[in-house]
Structures are given as C-alpha cells and as structure tokens.
Amino acid sequence: MTMTDLAQKVLSVSTAYLGPAAKMFLARQTKYHLHGLDYDQLQKEHLSELSRWIFISGSLVIEKDKAQELSQLVARLA
C-alpha cells in the first residue's frame, strides 16, 4: 500500500527533527493515539490530533521547543 501525499510530507518534515526513526515514531502515534490508524493512510482530518501528540511524545525524545516547532509545522500542513 502506498503512502498518501500528506503522510509523505509529514514524514519529510519530521525526519529533519527525528532522523531515520521518524516513520517509526509517527506510526506509533497514529497507532496508539489515532485509533490504530495506519500511518500511510494519514488524511487532513488527522493532522490536528497527530500534531498534538507529536508535541507530547516528541518532547520525550527531543527538546521541548523543537517538539513544539515540529508540531506547529505539521499542523500547518493541513
């Protein structure tokens, strides 16, 4: 199954902050916080919630301000 354009864009933005494990991170967020959504099927309506969880979970692996920056960038892709 191919990735949606939006999923590709979010991955691209996230890789700059999270490195090669960005896909793994995003897939975990959609799986656990977006009702088991397959990340590859990401749509616009998921972005707001995903952005929120990127900030919350992202703060655990990168600096808080960086996590917020990434969260805002993802939210703006909507």
């Binding site: 700059a16 902050y17 999270l18 490195g19 090669p20 494990a21 960005a22 793994m24 991170f25 975990r28 655990l60 692996v61 990168i62 600096e63 960086k66």
Partner: protein, 278 residues
Amino acid sequence: MTKFFHSLKTKLTVSFILLILLISGMAYLYTFNQTKRALKEQMRCELMSVASSVASAIDGDLHSRIGPGGRQGPEFKAVADLLIRVKKNNPKITYLYTMRQDGQGAYFVVDPDPEEPAQIGEAYEDVNQEMLAGFREPSADLDFVTDKWGTFLSGYAPIRDSLGNPVGLVGVDMDSRMVIARQEFIGRTIYLIIGLAVLFAGMIILLFSATIIRDVNRLNSIAKRISLGDMEVKMDVRRHDEIGDLAESFGRMVASLKIMMAEHQENSEKTEQGNDHD
C-alpha cells in the same frame, strides 16, 4: 601539558596569532620603509626650499667680491649675518654656508659656524653630484653623506648675480640623527599601533576559539554519555553555524536512537509476555 598543546583551542589560537603576526610584520616592514622613504623625500624638499630662499636673499655680486682674507670685510659680514639669522630661526639646520665651484670641486666662501668654521677658499673634499648640481639648480643629497664634520642630509641652491649667472651655492646641512630620530619615532608609532592591533585581534581570536571549543567539548561530552548508554542527554548547543548543524544532526541521531530503543523495548516486552502465556 601535552593535552594543552594538542588541544584545538591552542592550535587555533596559535595559528591565528602566527598568521596575524606574519601579516602585520610584513605590513610593518612595507609601511615603515615607505614612510622612511617619504620622510627623507620630505626632508630633501624642505632642505631645497630653505636653501633656495636663503640663496635668493643673497646678493650674488656682493658674494662674488668675497675673497681670501676677506673674513673681516663688509661683504662677508653681510652674508654671514644673514646665514646666522636664518639658522637661528631654523633649529633643524645644523650648518648653513656658501660655496663656489672650482671645476669638478668646490670650496667654502662663507661659513659662519662659531666653533669650527671653514676658511674662505678651503676646499671641500667630499663633493658629490647633487652638490655640483646645486650650483645650477636646487638639489639635495639622495642619502646621508659623511664628512669630517659628521653625517648629514644636505640641500643646495645656486646664488645668482645681477645677470642671473650662478656664482656660488648655499648649502644647508641637517644632522642625520635628527632625520633618523624622526624616522624612528614614526617606526615606533607604527609598531605600537600594530602591536595593539595584534593584541586586540589575539583577544578576539581567543574568545572566538574559546566559544567554538566550549561547544565542541559539550558535544563531545554528550557523545560520551550516549556511548555509555545515557539517553537522557540535553542538546544545549545553540549555534547558527557548522557546529550548530552538527549539534542538530546529533540531536536527530539521539532522537532516532531513543525511538528505536523504545520500540525495541516494547517488542521485547511483548515477546516476553507471549512467552509467559505459553
């Protein structure tokens, strides 16, 4: 001590300071030589100018009448008084005198020096091209000339009679020590300015390299902690240069490691739970 010599901070600071010293040393040599040359040229012009104005104030016809044994005559006295007055008003002048040409030689006519005056008709033994040229037009020595009276830079200008014919010259000597003292003063000033500039540049370089090394050391310390399994490191290097880029790459690497380790841990726990159920 060995660590100090091998540290990046020492290498950076020393190489920058050496570079600055090299550049400023070359600039010093060039500037000093140019200034010395310009100063000597300015002195030559001053000497020619004084010689010309004194020569124009001397009556050439009167000067021509001064002969051997004429030291007490009114002509000698008139010229000598003028020379004494000019010398008094120009403290830079060491000797002021007049001469006449004799073929390729020259001899003194009026030398009002109170201590060791040359006699009328006394031949000058160190005649050079500039002095001979001074019988026709204003000229000055190209370099210092040493004779029995000392080492001087001299200027010359012709004395002309009422018909405009050259009948002698006025010589103006400036002691070389005065010229050298002025050159040395300028040299010391340039040296001081360059010294201060090197000191200031050195301080800036030290500060600059200290901030770079501080952040490199921080990254080094973070890398050490990660290599020992500590993933709770804080990436507190904020720069907008290559070191900042390195810190960002480092941050990405740490984030990826954390995510992968969390995933790995979760999978391990699941596997263990599955095994327990079995």
